[in-house]
Symmetry: D2
Subunit: 361 residues, 4 copies
């Protein structure tokens, strides 16, 4: 179903999310990186000269001398797909303008996540929400071009096992989640070192609200007319999230408890089997960035751990451990997801891969 090679661009290419987009895209089987966008300060210069590169992998040879452009329609309308790693304070109008210029925009920014016609997609779960894209286009009088948002990093960690549980055992009724989030989630420069060394910060601005709200949208369905999301309306779900920042570089840990709507409760063993067996469309359509195993279930009682498990499968799947029963909830477990991979750039790229493979681009 692929239409050959797709021209892709990256907005916010010099930032940390942009740097990760570049590492994902520079050698991609069917995406060809043709445009890099940054602020006017960097425009017209070679990428390597305007970027404070902060990745363990080196700047790809092919990208070092690429000229950086301003993030305008003029420079990016040649692209089939644009990935946006822009900060939310500038992302809105630029992404909208590119959509109007018939570009498929896959955004890591939060600006359009709550838009009633923008799919909020975790590629390991709900690429089926793309069915709403025609309605999005219709509402704007477009025949091409749209915006797809990926979820907040901590939401992504939580919802993958939740989706697998709902698929296997029916709707959830209650979810309690407490996060221990990595500092890379706050971007760069992000959190000052004096605030987090030998410390925990028990607050991340608006993160708890995002985790609750995004979960309803992602785990919910789509209207029969494919013109709206139902926000899990078919079965009431209550999510309570508590978010903390901890001195970990990459990898969000989420301690979760869940209660099923059904009176028949699965055992921890059944839960582990269901999580291990879970597969997703990104795998079925052959998305190159899809992990072999969506959810890796750990048997050791002290795993997953961010430092040891975050890079498994290039961080494209999630890790679950400590699946056990509970007196308050039905099941408790721990999730670990790589916030800078599946929690950010990897999600956007995989979303676009699925869109391309399904003919949405």
């Amino acid at each position: 179903m692929l239409k050959g090679e797709y021209k892709v661009g990256v907005l916010g290419a010099t930032g940390t999310v942009g740097q990760r987009f570049i590492l994902h895209l520079h050698n991609h089987p069917f995406f060809k990186l043709v445009a890099l966008g940054a602020s006017s300060r960097s425009a017209g210069k070679a990428y390597r000269d305007v970027t404070k590169w902060k990745q363990v992998k080196q700047i790809p040879e092919s990208v070092q001398r690429m000229q950086v452009e301003e993030c305008t329609v003029e420079h990016f309308q040649q692209c089939d797909i644009v990935f946006s790693g822009l900060d939310h304070d500038v992302a809105g109008p630029i992404e909208d303008a590119l959509r109007n210029a018939h570009v498929a925009v896959f955004s890591n920014a939060k600006n359009y996540r709550r838009d009633p016609l923008v799919p909020l997609v975790v590629p390991l779960i709900n690429t089926s929400h793309y069915s709403v894209l025609p309605a999005q286009q219709k509402s704007l009088g477009l025949t091409k071009g749209y915006i797809v948002a990926n979820a907040n990093c901590s939401t992504t960690a939580l919802v993958v096992p939740l989706a697998a549980l709902e698929k296997a055992f029916g709707p959830l009724e209650q979810v309690q989640a407490t996060t221990l989030q990595a500092i890379s989630g706050s971007g760069y420069p992000g959190l000052p070192s004096l605030d987090i060394l030998d410390n925990v910060v028990p607050y991340i601005g608006s993160e708890e609200d995002k985790m609750e709200w995004e979960t309803y949208k992602i785990l919910g369905g789509v209207s029969a007319q494919n013109d709206a999301f139902d926000y899990h309306a078919q079965s009431p779900l209550t999510v309570s999230a508590t978010c903390n920042r901890v001195p970990v570089i990459d990898g969000h840990t989420v301690c979760a408890g869940v209660k099923f709507a059904s009176k028949v409760k699965p055992s921890p063993q059944q839960v582990m089997e269901a999580l291990s067996a879970y597969t997703c469309d990104a795998q079925h359509v052959g998305a190159p960035s899809a992990p072999q195993q969506v959810i890796t279930v750990h048997q050791e009682q002290d795993r997953p751990q961010p430092r040891l498990d975050r890079d498994h499968q290039n961080g494209a799947g999630v890790n679950v451990g400590r699946v056990r029963g509970d007196a308050l909830f039905d099941i408790k477990f721990v999730v670990l997801a790589n916030n800078v991979q599946i929690g950010a750039a990897t999600s956007s790229v995989m979303n676009a891969e699925v869109a391309a493979l399904q003919g949405y681009v």
Copy 2:
């Protein structure tokens, strides 16, 4: 009610808990430190020569040359009170022998916490449980001597605000707690640095069980005959605890959600006022180690934080912040307690102070 000065000893004096006992006791208004106990390897030598001192404060001058003794009845029966910082693998028989030798033993070890006649006491909450001490003595045919245990460090952090809430608003029905615990909680050498730098360990052996079980005992009452604990039997309470280790030196953070039994729910504002207003017997009887304020309620949305708040009031009180409503529970909040102070040695010393001031020694 004080009977003058009390002779006190410290078991496990060279370990980290023992070192903190010494810092608390070397200058105490009515406890006189007369005996230091350690393994036979150290016995007969000067304290400073057998101790790898790991505290920020220096070894008190008066203690440096004190001779370390073996932890036997012979060396400690001269004491009115003995504080035990022993590891649980050796604490049991030694503490029992001293009790039989008419010594009041205040132990930080876990060995007797579940004993049906040993009070498990957080001095900011339930020194009223001392009313069971005569029954303990009677059961052993003793007229003097007993064992009082203090709680596990993570339990201590959690139960102080819970006790304040029950005092103000009646019994709790559900408690959910997720901890982010400091490395000092695992003792010394404790956690290898390779296991925790840039990492989270989502498991602490038997800690979750302890937090649940100890909470019932501490928050519960005493039988009318003062010969048993009721483990919160008058009103069913379910506690669900999840425990994590994080790269923080001192200070356990606990993210908690609570549901009240009463249909009338307090507002976050009422909860904050009740927590601030809470006082305890240790304050009323004038225990020298009691904090001025049992619970310090923080208004800033990102507090309490371990590094900034753990040493407030020498770590003798607890800190609460982020009091807010919740869709799943009635109220959520964050607690911070200094695990090596009120979570360990400070508790034992304050317990003994109250016991002395109330005539139990």
Copy 3:
């Protein structure tokens, strides 16, 4: 020689250095804190409302409601002494204007450190350089008011033992110093956490040059006419500094090697004795902030360590350990100094105390 109480002000009062000035001054025996200066954004408001307080000790009660003023002559000319915790990009003209308004300015900023008539003073070493103050005033046509600078934090750590060695054994000829500097040295927000967690940054902008240059000025003498510094000219000294940032909150560690000019070399034992015996004018005149022991010499082979030793004597002295011989240099040793205490605010305050006690204010 004190003229009663001195009115003092703090410039940059809301920053981290300013916060430490406040902790030093709010309860001072003869300095009365009367004015707090910050940017125009904060002016007119209560201190506690415009300050993101980041200290372990709480905001002093007496300071919480003090009104913050702009850093202008108008608001600070009432002061006998002004302490400057300003950033160097704004410190220059403000400090100069206050000097012209007859105020004694003790500055932690670097702007005037290289001024040929401004004493660069580490209070544990060279308060004798105050003899140049009349020449500074004369050059500006002033009868009152002057600027005294304290040294860079890493310089301070190094020069204290060097001064003690020169006092005991005559001039040094070569000094090699490699630092492991704490993150608090970069201010707040300072170093991003992503740059330093699980990392070392082997570079601190212009720090090596400062350590070399400042050492010559501080260890050097004053001309016979008290109108110039001699920059150690009486005996050639070469300093080679290498500076690193490490993930430590407070406390700069410096590994040093020294070669004496004299052919007769002291033994490590003699060096340790000389360091321990060293005293300074700040002690002799009774400066309240002076440490009891200027240099604490550690015998344990793995000390000093930042976390364990930085707060000894409130960080007002320095720690030296691992004094040993060497094949390349005569003596090698390790210094630890608390960069936010003796390396910053404590130095300024102690400098002012000595100035007041010696009649310079």
Copy 4:
């Protein structure tokens, strides 16, 4: 020159060095991993069941079920080559017994490093020292089997650029080195977390002596008769090392200053070019583990940094930055080497690869 596939074994296979040997060897082009040795406690069991695996990469499938054997001649004499990751307290007799059984032993332990007939080899420098192996065998009456040691991890970091400098500009006269060493260098469990979080330990037992002594042996030559090492005797060299432990997981940073024997001094630019141009025999003979670039010279003033640069080329080369002139030495620079790769297992494997390719096995 290869004689086909070589059977190899790993001693100490369950430890951290052993785990890294396994990751290097499980897929090797001409080494076939046939035997895993550990303590008698683990013998007879499947590898995955007796190993607390602590690597980011997972246990190779092919190794998981391999049976662990005791480290005896019986189990390892089938091997052409044995790699030893044993602790030094047990390594000596086992390695000696295997040598006597005609096995080529490549050891990471320190036991035979000072042996006058055992080559101490950093594979990026002095595989030419293998010319002494016949003398080693002759002294023991052997025709096959020998021991080759690799260097201490901090020595390895330092000597690679030193060798390149001597090759380009002639002998060095003085070397000053201060290290900032990663915690993984102390093994597992190694350093307790309480000792190193927010801290520096300015001492590593016997490390400074090792760095000085090993440098002489490695940089030195071999006697004309190939029966002795000359320990750099042809030109006197003085090394002064100072060693520190810092809270970094992997990657030793070394700040070095060097003085050349020659009166003609190279410029920093010439030094950078010489370091970049340096090649070694491991590259020339095509050792599979040899890095493409032995020394990567960084131009950015704040590089190399452990977290960003340690994994470049799988840690098989070293990184140098901040090459600059100096008033005390001729040239100063910073080296970073991955202590668990080129500083340990990678060295041993590369040493064996060269030996095999040169016909020594």
